[in-house]
């Protein structure tokens, strides 16, 4: 039943922190504030906290399944829904992950095109990034984890930059606390789903962790780190922008950087966008790794071949998304699907799996 991975390919449990945080904290950070704040205004930070708590719950659910199954998403789906339906669901998830990589890659290229090089062609740049991804993913899960680790640790200095805009902020903007209804809160949580998604990859890399049961707390810490960073950015955004102004800004985080002026560097947002290339890489890598791993298990093909196929699809679709409106629409769908997978699919799977598990034990 369970999947056995050779010990030399496994990583130590505490690196799960970086895997979880690294995959969550990505392209959403640059733009998530507006969508939330357009619904709940200055209470947006509360809905960030609520989403964080919900995600902790989801992590707990996933671990309770994985600890019993000792496998990954594919085996869990098979055990719960039978081989055919289970595999079909897994394929859906893999397609979702693939489209998520497209969202991340294309959104990043869009940011580069808007903020740095308006005339940058999408395809050569995407090719180079995907070449890096191929190089990383083919090096194996240890290296993918290493990239997540370094991509979290090295650009961590960016956290300090979020304190600079406070000089021009008005903390009165946060008051009065909890001025919105529960319905509005619930609706705003939906918009954060895309920025917070990433924890679902635990379902794929679980067998690659040494003593995987002990990694649960690190997954929680990872999510905690993400939530606190989102909270920090959200609070700074809310005090930095007047509510009406925020509604017209597409990338509030980049606007936060724009105000930073150091003695050696003016216009910090260029450094920020550049650093974000490093921040974004592990997300794409982990996603491609999970997706190709899933294909390998379902169809019993070589992971390298699956990876090449996925990279090719990602490349083609990214090149077809040319306009801002198209990208935005794509991101919107992705957000809806993320919401569905995280907050509906995983809880349902959780319930079904445990019912099946009990039944099987009795039988």
């Amino acid at each position: 039943m369970s999947i056995q991975i050779k010990d030399e390919f496994r990583v130590s449990p505490f690196l799960v922190l970086f895997l979880v945080h690294g995959t969550q904290y990505g392209i959403g950070v640059l733009s998530f504030q507006r969508d939330v704040a357009s619904i709940v205004g200055h209470d947006a930070w509360i809905s960030v906290i609520i989403t964080g708590v919900i995600l902790h719950l989801l992590i707990w659910m996933m671990y309770s399944m994985l600890n019993k199954d000792k496998g990954d998403l594919i085996t869990i789906n098979q055990h719960t829904f039978g081989k055919w339906i289970g595999n079909l669901l897994s394929i859906f998830i893999i397609i979702f992950i693939l489209s998520h990589t497209i969202t991340v890659l294309r959104s990043y290229i869009e940011i580069v095109q808007v903020w740095m090089f308006p005339l940058l062609k999408t395809w050569p740049f995407a090719l180079v990034i995907l070449l890096a991804v191929y190089y990383i993913v083919t090096s194996g899960f240890r290296v993918v984890t290493g990239v997540s680790f370094l991509s979290v640790v090295l650009p961590f200095y960016l956290v300090f930059t979020f304190f600079v805009p406070i000089e021009f902020s008005n903390f009165r903007n946060l008051l009065p606390v909890f001025d919105h209804s529960f319905v509005e809160m619930a609706r705003s949580i939906k918009t954060t789903a895309l920025s917070f998604s990433g924890i679902e990859h635990i379902l794929f890399f679980y067998p690659f962790i040494q003593k995987p049961e002990s990694s649960q707390k690190w997954a929680h810490y990872g999510n905690l780190l993400t939530t606190s960073l989102y909270l920090l950015i959200m609070v700074v955004t809310l005090v930095f922008f007047e509510h009406e102004y925020l509604n017209s800004v597409i990338w509030p985080t980049l606007m936060l950087w724009k105000i930073i002026e150091l003695p050696i560097v003016e216009r910090f947002e260029i450094i920020g966008v550049t650093s974000w290339a490093v921040v974004m890489i592990p997300i794409i890598c982990v996603m491609f790794w999970s997706a190709s791993r899933g294909i390998k298990e379902i169809f019993k093909v070589k992971q390298k071949k699956a990876l090449v196929l996925l990279l090719f699809i990602c490349f083609m679709i990214s090149c077809f998304l040319t306009e801002r409106e198209m990208i935005q629409q794509f991101n919107k769908w992705q957000s809806e699907v993320s919401f569905f997978i995280l907050l509906i699919y995983i809880p349902i799977l959780f319930v079904c799996y445990h019912i099946r598990y009990k039944l099987r034990r009795k039988g």
Partner: protein, 359 residues
């Protein structure tokens, strides 16, 4: 075999990146880095744009060059100015944007769009209103730097140590977008050959409304932020003055009955040092008198200023936001209707800390 395919693929990617991935370069010395831009009214829906470009000489001195063009859209004027520029004119290093008073009276909302939309323009850009023609103000050269940097240093210096409240493009836009508050800008004008800050221009929405009275500048800045080091001239008698220096201040807003008819009371605490005084010595009684006079004068100036804001229906002091942040289910429309009539009081506390080295 597979290895060869791989090497070919990698080489292909490198090749295509090098040949198709190129982006047009903006080499520093091939650019004309505009440091200031000025907008003038040039007939209905037409604007005249003036750009100031520093000329860097090899001996490290800096000169000045200006370009002018007229069109409906400001980006289009950029293209027209490029027609007469040997190096490409770019806006990435803009320090100052000036709007002529006439233009500002008609509204600058559409012109602000270009400053916001262009990612290369700094959020710290200093916007100002030119008293008179912006073009004329910009074509003159002041000081040892180019006009743009000179103006930004001038305004910056007056923000740090003078009576211009802290502001930049970002804070201006915050006020401009907010329904509850209105923006303000410094007013810059020429005085003979020099340029000087003439006061504060108050806006209603995107339109210039009036200039802040000179006497109100101190209290205006004190009610917006904490003063760190400012000067205050106090009139004691008909022709007896005293200058209070290094003034620190703190203010605190209290709102009562925010839901229905808000009452606002502002407490202002001012601390300073006597630096120059006419007339008698500064004994204890005299200082007590100065404190009392200063309190009276500040309260009078503050009340007058706020009254005039209420009459014009503008709120550059963010009083609306203060009320909103203290009221659940705040109703913006109701507040805006109530604003001219609500009761706003100012209470000032004055401390004189030192009086210099003589008594």
């Amino acid at each position: 075999m597979i290895k060869k395919v791989k090497i070919a693929a990698v080489l292909g990617i490198i090749f295509s990146a090098l040949f198709f991935g190129r982006v047009p370069s903006q080499i520093l010395d091939d650019l004309n880095l505009a440091s200031a831009v000025g907008y003038d009214f040039a007939g209905e829906n037409r604007i005249k744009t003036t750009s100031v470009v520093p000329v860097f000489n090899p001996d490290k001195s800096v000169g000045n060059e200006t370009f002018t063009a007229t069109d409906e859209l400001s980006k289009e004027t950029l293209r027209k100015m490029n027609l007469s520029s040997a190096r490409r004119l770019v806006n990435g290093k803009l320090e100052v944007a000036l709007y002529s008073k006439e233009l500002a009276k008609r509204g600058i909302g559409d012109l602000l769009d270009t400053l916001q939309r262009d990612p290369s323009i700094s959020e710290r850009l200093l916007v100002a209103v030119a008293d008179g023609e912006a073009e004329q103000l910009l074509t003159n050269k002041y000081g040892d730097r180019d006009t743009g940097v000179f103006l930004s240093m001038l305004i910056d210096q007056n923000i740090k140590a003078g009576l211009v409240p802290t502001y930049n493009l970002h804070l201006f836009l915050n006020n401009y977008y907010s329904k509850l508050s209105d923006p303000f800008l410094p007013l810059i004008g020429q005085k003979g050959k020099d340029v000087q800050i003439k006061g504060i221009a108050l806006f209603k929405g995107d339109r210039f409304l009036k200039t802040l009275h000179e006497d109100h500048q101190f209290v205006f800045k004190a009610l917006l932020e904490k003063l760190k080091s400012a000067n205050y001239k106090l009139r004691l008698k008909e022709d007896e003055f005293v200058v209070i220096e290094n003034v620190n201040s703190k203010h605190r807003v209290r709102v009562r009955n925010g839901k229905h008819t808000p009452e606002i009371s502002i407490g202002l605490r001012v601390k300073g040092i006597i630096r120059e005084k006419m007339g008698k010595t500064t004994n204890k009684r005299e200082i007590h008198y100065i404190k009392k006079q200063m309190k009276k004068q500040l309260e009078k100036q503050g009340t007058e200023m706020i009254r005039s804001f209420q009459q014009s229906g503008i709120d550059p002091l963010h009083l609306g936001n203060e009320v909103r942040s203290r009221t659940r289910n705040f109703n913006t429309k109701k507040w805006l209707a109530q604003y001219p009539d609500i009761k706003i009081t100012i209470k000032v506390d004055v401390d004189i800390l030192e009086k210099g080295v003589i008594d």
